[in-house]
C-alpha cells in the first residue's frame, strides 16, 4: 500500500504529444479513475506508471520512492489489461500464481494464496482450465485474480470491463469497488465510460487530448465542472448548452436563452452585455406549471424509459452544442438538439407543443464562449 505522486509527466511519441504536463497526488488507498474520450492518453499514463513506457519528462513517486527509472518488475504494482492478457499456455492456477512464482514464493504458499484469491472471485472450480476454455467474464476474474494475489502496493486497471455485456459490467463494477474497499490497495482505474467513473471513483481525473481537464470527486465534477468539456462529458444524457446575452433587469442578473429567462449569479456581472454559454442539465428542465415564463417547444423525439422520458427538441438559433459534440459518445448530438429529462410526465407526450421551465433549485452553469472555461 502506498501513495503516488505524478509530477509534471510528459510523453511524446515522435512529434505527437500524448501527455501534457500531468500532475496528480494519489492518497494511500484511494480509488482514482482516469476518464476521457478514446485516444486522450489514459492508457499511456497507466503504462508509464507501470513502467512499460518511459516518460519523456517528469517523475513518478510511489510510496516515497522515485520509481521513474525502475523496471516494471521492481515497482510492486499489478495491472489488469484492457484485453486481460492471460497467459494462454498456462492454466488458471498457473496464471494467477505466475507473479508469486517469479518472486520466489514457495510452492505451498503460492497454492494457498491462489486458492484464497480464486475463492474471493468465485473461480475456484476453474483453476485447472486454460484461458481459452473460459467465458469473457471468467477471464476478467482471472485477470483480477492475477492482480490481487500478489498483494501489490498499487493496482492499475485499464478498461477491465469494456469487453463485458452490460449486465455483467454493472455487477463487476460493484465487485471491483467492494474488493478495493476491502483490501484497501491504492487503485488507478482507466475507463472511457463516465458512468463507471461516477460510480466507482473516490476522485476522477478527466482528460482530453493528453491534458488533464479537472481532478475532483464525482460530485464536484458534476456540480462544478471547470469547463465545457467536463460539463458535457460528465452526466448522461449530456448537459445542454445554450448561448445568450447577460442582462440586468429589475429582478437581477439574468440571461435570455432562446426565450427562457435564466437567473444567474452576480459572478457573471463582468460579462454584462456579452454573450455567454449556459449549461443546463437535462434533469434541470421540467414541465412548466401555471403561467410561469416558459419555453414553448415542439419535441422532435420523445424517448420514454418508463419512469422518465427524454424529450429532444431544438431552439432556433441555438447551435452551441456543436462546440464539444462528436468528441465522445455522451455528446452524440452535433446538430444543436437539446434534451429535457422529465419524470412523472403522466400523459404521453406526442405531437403538439409543450412548455418547459427551469426547476426551482436548478443551477445554471456559465462558460466563456472563447475559452470554454467556467465563469464563477
Amino acid at each position: 500500500m502506498a501513495d503516488i505522486q505524478i509530477q509534471n509527466l510528459n510523453k511524446r511519441y515522435g512529434t505527437f504529444q500524448a501527455l501534457h504536463d500531468m500532475s496528480l497526488d494519489v492518497k494511500d488507498g484511494e480509488f482514482i479513475v482516469f476518464v476521457g474520450p478514446s485516444g486522450c492518453g489514459k492508457s499511456t499514463a497507466l503504462k508509464i506508471l507501470a513502467g512499460l513506457e518511459a516518460a519523456s519528462t517528469g517523475s513518478i513517486i510511489i510510496g516515497g520512492e522515485d520509481v521513474t527509472e525502475l523496471a516494471p518488475a521492481k515497482r510492486d504494482i499489478a495491472m489488469v489489461f484492457q484485453n486481460y492478457a492471460l497467459y494462454p499456455h498456462l492454466t488458471v492456477r498457473q496464471n494467477i500464481g505466475f507473479g508469486l512464482m517469479m518472486r520466489g514464493t514457495d510452492k505451498k504458499q503460492i497454492n494457498q494464496r491462489v486458492e484464497r484469491a480464486a475463492q474471493a472471485l468465485e473461480i475456484s472450480d476453474l483453476l485447472e482450465r486454460r484461458p481459452k476454455a473460459l467465458s469473457g467474464g471468467q477471464r476478467q476474474r482471472v485477470a483480477l485474480g492475477r492482480a490481487i494475489v500478489r498483494e501489490p502496493r498499487v493496482f492499475l486497471m485499464d478498461e477491465p470491463l469494456s469487453n463485458l455485456d452490460a449486465a455483467l459490467r454493472v455487477q463487476m463494477r460493484a465487485e471491483i469497488t467492494a474488493l478495493q474497499r476491502r483490501i484497501g490497495v491504492t487503485t488507478i482505474y482507466v475507463t472511457h465510460d463516465q458512468t463507471e467513473a461516477m460510480t466507482m471513483a473516490d476522485r476522477i481525473v478527466i482528460m482530453r487530448k493528453g491534458v488533464v481537464q479537472q481532478i475532483g470527486s464525482p460530485d464536484a465534477l458534476f456540480n462544478h465542472p471547470a469547463n465545457m468539456f467536463v460539463a458535457g462529458f460528465i452526466g448522461s444524457p449530456a448537459m445542454n448548452f445554450l448561448s445568450g446575452k447577460v442582462q440586468r433587469d429589475d429582478r437581477g442578473l439574468n440571461i435570455d436563452a432562446g426565450g427562457l429567462r435564466l437567473p444567474v449569479a452576480e459572478a457573471a456581472a463582468a460579462y454584462l452585455g456579452k454573450t455567454v454559454i449556459c449549461g443546463i442539465r437535462p434533469e434541470s428542465l421540467d414541465l412548466a406549471r401555471g403561467d410561469a415564463p416558459a419555453l414553448e417547444i415542439t419535441p422532435t423525439l420523445v424517448e420514454s424509459l418508463g419512469t422518465e422520458a427524454y424529450v429532444h427538441f431544438k431552439l432556433p438559433g441555438q447551435q452551441v452544442a456543436t462546440a464539444v459534440a462528436g468528441e465522445h459518445e455522451h455528446q452524440p448530438l452535433g446538430n444543436g438538439t437539446l434534451i429535457a429529462r422529465l419524470y412523472d410526465v403522466g400523459t404521453p407526450l406526442s405531437g403538439g407543443t409543450i412548455r418547459l421551465g427551469l426547476k426551482p433549485q436548478a443551477s445554471v452553469h456559465l462558460f466563456d464562449p472563447a475559452t470554454e472555461q467556467a465563469i464563477s
Binding site: G51, M79, Y84, L86, R103
Partner: protein, 276 residues
C-alpha cells in the same frame, strides 16, 4: 449444416484424387525398390511386384555407408536448424517488437538474400569456407544451411510474434519478469507452434539439400550426407534404381517422423484465450 449426398461424394472424390496424385510417386518408389533393376522398363509395368526383393534393403546397409550418411545429414540438419533458430528467434522477435525506422529496411534486407538463387550464393560461400579451412567438414554445410534458413525463418517467426499481443509480455514484466524472462517464459511457449513449423522448415531444407553438400563435401567421403551418397549409386553406364529408391525411401523417413512428431504443434490456434 448437413451435406447433401452428392456434395459428400464430390468431396471424397476430390480428396481421393488429390491423395492419389501426391502419393503415387511414393508408391512407385516402393514398387521400384522391390523389383530387380531390369524390370523397371518392363511393359506393362507391374503395379505389385511379383517377387518382392527385400534383400535390396539389406544390401543397402551392408554394401553402402548409408547409416553414416544419414548420421551426417542428421548432424547437419539438427545443428543448422538449431543455430538458425537461435538467430531467427532473436531477429524475428526484435523485428516484431522493437520497431524503429530502420527495422523495416533491415527486415527487407534480410529477406533479399532469400530472393537470390542459391547457385549465386554458393560461389562466395565457397570462397569463405575455403579461407576458413572448412571445406570437407560438416561445419561448412551447417553454416551454409544456416545462411539459407535464417532469412526465411526470421520472417516466419516475425509473423508468429506479430500475432501475439504485446500485452502478454507487458503482463509478464509487471508480474516480475525481465524482458528476457518474458520472452522465455511467456512468448516462446506461446509461439511453440510457430517454432515447431519453423524448425521443421529448416530441418527439411537442410536434409533435402544436394547442391551445397556437393560443393563443400564432395572430396571427403567421410562427411557425405545421404543425398550426396545416394547420388554416387548412379553409375556411368548403369544405375541400380532399386537401390536408389530404397535409399531414398529411407532418407525420407526422418522427415516423415519429424512431421508426425511436430504435427500437434502445427495445427490449432496458439494465442487462443489470451485476450477477449
Amino acid at each position: 449444416m448437413k451435406r447433401k449426398l452428392w456434395q459428400s461424394i464430390l468431396l471424397y472424390a476430390t480428396v481421393i484424387v488429390a491423395c492419389a496424385v501426391v502419393l503415387f510417386p511414393v508408391y512407385w518408389m516402393v514398387v521400384t525398390s522391390l523389383q530387380p533393376p531390369g524390370s523397371l522398363r518392363a511393359y506393362p509395368p507391374h503395379f505389385l511386384p511379383p517377387d518382392p526383393q527385400w534383400q535390396t534393403y539389406i544390401r543397402l546397409f551392408i554394401e553402402t555407408d548409408i547409416l553414416r550418411w544419414m548420421a551426417n545429414s542428421a548432424i547437419v540438419a539438427v545443428a543448422a536448424t538449431g543455430i538458425s533458430m537461435v538467430a531467427a528467434v532473436l531477429a524475428g522477435y526484435s523485428l516484431s517488437r522493437y520497431q524503429t525506422k530502420s527495422s523495416e529496411n533491415v527486415g527487407l534486407f534480410i529477406l533479399m538474400s532469400k530472393m537470390l538463387p542459391a547457385t549465386m550464393l554458393i560461389i562466395p560461400l565457397f570462397g569463405i569456407m575455403r579461407s576458413l579451412g572448412l571445406m570437407g567438414s560438416l561445419w561448412s554445410l551447417i553454416f551454409a544451411h544456416a545462411t539459407a534458413i535464417v532469412p526465411f525463418a526470421t520472417w516466419m517467426l516475425k509473423g508468429y510474434f506479430d500475432s501475439i499481443p504485446n500485452e502478454l509480455e507487458q503482463a509478464a514484466q509487471v508480474d516480475g519478469c525481465t524482458p528476457w524472462g518474458a520472452l522465455f517464459r511467456v512468448i516462446l511457449p506461446v509461439a511453440a507452434p510457430g517454432l515447431a513449423a519453423t524448425s521443421l522448415y529448416g530441418f527439411v531444407l537442410s536434409w533435402a539439400d544436394y547442391l551445397f553438400a556437393r560443393t563443400f563435401l564432395a572430396n571427403n567421403a567421410d562427411s557425405w550426407t545421404v543425398n550426396l551418397g545416394i547420388a554416387t549409386f548412379k553409375g556411368e553406364y548403369q544405375t541400380d534404381w532399386n537401390l536408389v529408391m530404397a535409399a531414398s525411401l529411407l532418407a525420407a523417413l526422418p522427415i516423415m517422423i519429424a512431421y508426425l512428431f511436430l504435427q500437434r504443434f502445427l495445427v490449432g490456434g496458439m494465442t487462443a484465450g489470451a485476450g477477449k
